[in-house]
């Protein structure tokens, strides 16, 4: 039973065993079950080794640092300034607050690498505001959830750091490659909102803001909005590596919130840092556990089996990519983005990059965008859960309102799958890949 590791894991997952422990138990069971053939008892030690070395790597340092940067910005009242700035820019259009929600997500994406942070930060502000403005609460939650997946697609991105780490791709190239797809999703969502606004006669949020107020709002978000400029400028001019950029972002956010804006109090610092430590500790352990799991999968030859299976269906790479998208989308419905990347990345990577010769950065973006959109699809979508708990609306209702937005996101996934230049143009132009 060569796929025992997978069935055991799925079973454990289904009966609500936490993912991280499910991965470890399934790996251990596979070794014990197969003792004397592929494995010896001391291979249990290899699982432990993988768990440890999976976390012990320099590029992963970006993960806690970006999480820290996000925590600081959430605490430091930076979100409110971004929303106000968006409002002065686009609040006067029909469907104003829905557009504001999306635009804020795009701006926020340049500072934060996490969709969940986006949902909870923007959702808790904008969902009540939209409801007061006459939108249904479920629609407000749907816009929030759908647009917050932009967070990890526009750089910086926690998911891409994980991917870059396990697949040995340059994180800078992934960051650059994510920009255009992220903006496409943002643009697409605003287009849908535009038509929905006409159809349902959505309200405008405010009068067109006078230029002076736009300038004032821009000034108030000036320091936070400088973050992406500093990050990109710093990376491209050789001041720091993409990994170090995460630390620089956290340091900059800390400095701005504590000294410039004074929105972060010194006595709050331990709490903010602890929250970042908890969030990153949980993800790190998950990364380590999935390394153990991938190790077992590799020892029993799972990648080869999957690759043989896929290639037996068709040898047409375009069709295979389509199948891959469907598979990722389904996986994204059940698994969180991080675990999905960690578990499937190495296996699918060996099929599409090694066997079929797809560009590793292109494939990385297909995979990252897919699992990120999966964050907002039922039944298992972290963004959806957070939106539901912030808006206090049942998940099913949010999903119903979200269908047109999901359609746009699927369309973008297909576009970037088949038009390679949408992802590769920017990293090539910047000299980050060949």
């Amino acid at each position: 039973m060569p796929m025992a590791f997978l069935w055991t894991f799925l079973l454990l997952l289904a009966v609500s065993v936490p993912v991280v422990f499910g991965l470890l138990i399934a790996s251990g069971v596979t070794v014990v079950n197969d003792l004397g053939n592929d494995f010896k008892p001391r291979d249990l030690n290899s699982l432990l080794s993988q768990l440890f070395s999976g976390m012990s790597s320099v590029p992963l340092m970006a993960l806690p640092m970006f999480i820290l940067a996000g925590e600081i910005m959430n605490t430091g009242g930076i979100t409110a300034r971004l929303v106000h700035f968006s409002q002065t820019l686009i609040g006067h259009v029909r469907g104003g607050l829905a557009h504001v929600n999306i635009l804020s997500s795009i701006l926020f994406a340049g500072l934060s690498g996490s969709a969940v942070a986006d949902t909870s930060a923007l959702g808790s502000m904008l969902i009540p505001a939209m409801e007061k403005n006459g939108y249904s609460r479920q629609f407000a939650a749907a816009v929030t959830a759908a647009s917050s997946v932009i967070g990890p697609i526009i750089p910086p991105s926690g998911i891409m750091i994980i991917y870059a780490f396990i697949m040995g791709v340059s994180p800078a190239a992934l960051f650059a490659a994510g920009l255009i797809p992220g903006l496409m999703i943002g643009g697409g969502l605003m287009a849908v909102t535009y038509f929905l606004a006409i159809k349902h006669d959505f309200p405008v949020a405010n009068e067109r803001a006078p230029a002076r107020e736009v300038a004032r709002a821009a000034g108030a978000s000036f320091w936070p909005l400088l973050t992406p400029v500093i990050l990109l400028g710093g990376i491209l001019s050789g001041w720091f590596t993409p990994t170090e950029a995460a630390g620089v972002a956290a340091f900059y956010a800390f400095f701005v919130a504590l000294v410039v804006l004074r929105t972060l109090k010194l006595r709050e610092v331990p709490r903010v840092f602890l929250r970042a430590a908890v969030a990153s500790g949980i993800i790190l352990l998950l990364i380590g556990a999935s390394k153990s799991f991938s190790w077992v999968a590799d020892q029993v030859g799972a990648a080869q089996m999957l690759s043989d299976f896929l290639l037996s269906l068709t040898e047409n790479p375009l069709l295979l990519l389509f199948l891959c998208n469907i598979m990722l989308f389904i996986v994204g419905m059940f698994l969180d983005a991080g675990p999905a990347i960690l578990i499937l990345g190495p296996i699918l990577g060996s099929v599409f990059v090694t066997d079929l010769g797809l560009d590793p950065v292109h494939f990385a973006i297909i995979m990252c965008v897919n699992v990120t959109v999966g964050l907002a699809t039922p039944p298992m979508g972290l963004v959806l859960f957070v939106a539901s708990s912030v808006a206090k609306v049942r998940v099913e209702l949010i999903v119903k309102s979200m269908l047109p937005f999901l359609a746009v996101e699927v369309l973008v996934i297909l576009l970037i799958t088949y038009v390679e230049d949408l992802t590769l143009f920017l990293p090539r132009a910047l000299g980050l890949i060949q």
């Binding site: 290899s46 993988q50 590029p59 050789g238 001041w239 993409p242």
Partner: protein, 324 residues
């Protein structure tokens, strides 16, 4: 099969380590009539970094593993003498040294001090370490002054860059390409095949063939795994390693020919330091030798220099015999 021997290394199947392993596998499996099976795990598939793989080897989870000089330093620190800058003058002397009594001395010392691993053979992985730079040709040690050079996180590599006046900068391997492009670092100390495999020639424009280190690959076998073999099987495995060594030594040289060509086609310049410039490099690197002697004494330095001198004499005698 009665016995399975697992070989793991971090290099990809394009690496000479893989070719060598294939030759070992083929010989051992057929000579033992299938009693011994050999499994190869390239690309860090069994263990993903040098220290983790070393632990797997010493732990007996992994039967065969190949360390670089730097990797061995983790569990047998005196072995860093192998990376002493300009210790070995050229491939012929290096190969002679690694076929000679120095290998037995390392084997015995590690069996004595660590116990769990037996040195089988020493081959080469990637040729020689040279100084390659993005914007300025390095001809003398003075040219290294203030240069940010990417090094691996090993003491002796760091000491060397410091001695030459440069700024040693550890950068994770997947980020080296970008870092060379943006200027986070201004050069590396890699072998030519690694440079070309990673397409560093997009950014690296100058190589100075200072040849400060021979990129030795030390093949280890877990001691219990070796002792568990019957004497006949031990001999088969030993012979297999000899064939592996021949394969893995020849390939870097052959691949180097193409790689240098690729580098030049990409607009790169290759510079061979003159005898005086080489001497200047050697002199500038003297603090590294002092650093080593201070930490580990002179025993290995003396042994290595004796081996080099003996080999030089032997090779000269061979030449004189042939040219008579």
């Amino acid at each position: 099969a009665d016995t399975t021997l697992k070989i793991a290394f971090l290099g990809s199947p394009d690496d000479e380590d893989y070719d060598g392993s294939l030759v070992l596998k083929n010989y051992v499996e057929s000579a033992s009539n299938g009693a011994i099976e050999v499994e190869i795990f390239p690309s860090g598939r069994f263990c993903s970094n040098a220290d983790e793989c070393s632990e797997a080897l010493l732990d007996g989870r992994l039967e065969i593993y190949i360390t670089t000089n730097g990797g061995l330093a983790g569990w047998y620190p005196p072995a860093q003498f192998l990376d002493l800058p300009y210790l070995l003058p050229n491939d012929r002397v290096a190969e002679c040294v690694f076929d000679g009594p120095l290998v037995s001395k390392i084997r015995a010392a590690v069996l004595q001090d660590v116990g769990a691993a037996r040195l089988m053979v020493v081959s080469n992985t990637g040729g020689w370490r040279n100084i390659a730079t993005t914007s300025k040709q390095v001809k003398t040690p003075d040219d290294v002054d203030g240069l940010k050079l990417r090094t691996i996180g090993a003491d002796i590599q760091i000491e060397l860059v410091k001695s030459l006046g440069g700024n040693p900068t550890p950068i994770a391997w997947p980020e080296v390409y970008t870092s060379l492009g943006t200027g986070v670092v201004e050069g590396t100390k890699n072998g030519i095949t690694d440079i070309v495999n990673m397409k560093f020639q997009d950014h690296l424009k100058y190589i100075s063939l200072d040849g400060h280190a021979y990129m030795a690959a030390l093949w280890w076998m877990n001691e219990d795994a070796f002792q568990d073999l019957s004497p006949e099987h031990q001999r088969i495995v030993y012979d297999g390693f000899q064939f592996l060594k021949q394969t893995a030594r020849v390939l870097p040289m052959r691949k180097g020919v193409d790689a240098f060509e690729t580098f030049k086609e990409a607009g790169g310049t290759i510079y061979s330091p003159t005898a005086e410039e080489k001497a200047a490099f050697q002199k500038a690197a003297q603090p590294v030798w002092d650093w080593y002697a201070k930490n580990f004494g002179n025993e290995w330095i003396n042994a290595a220099q004796t081996a080099v001198n003996d080999c030089e004499a032997k090779l000269t005698a061979e030449f004189e015999e042939a040219a008579k």
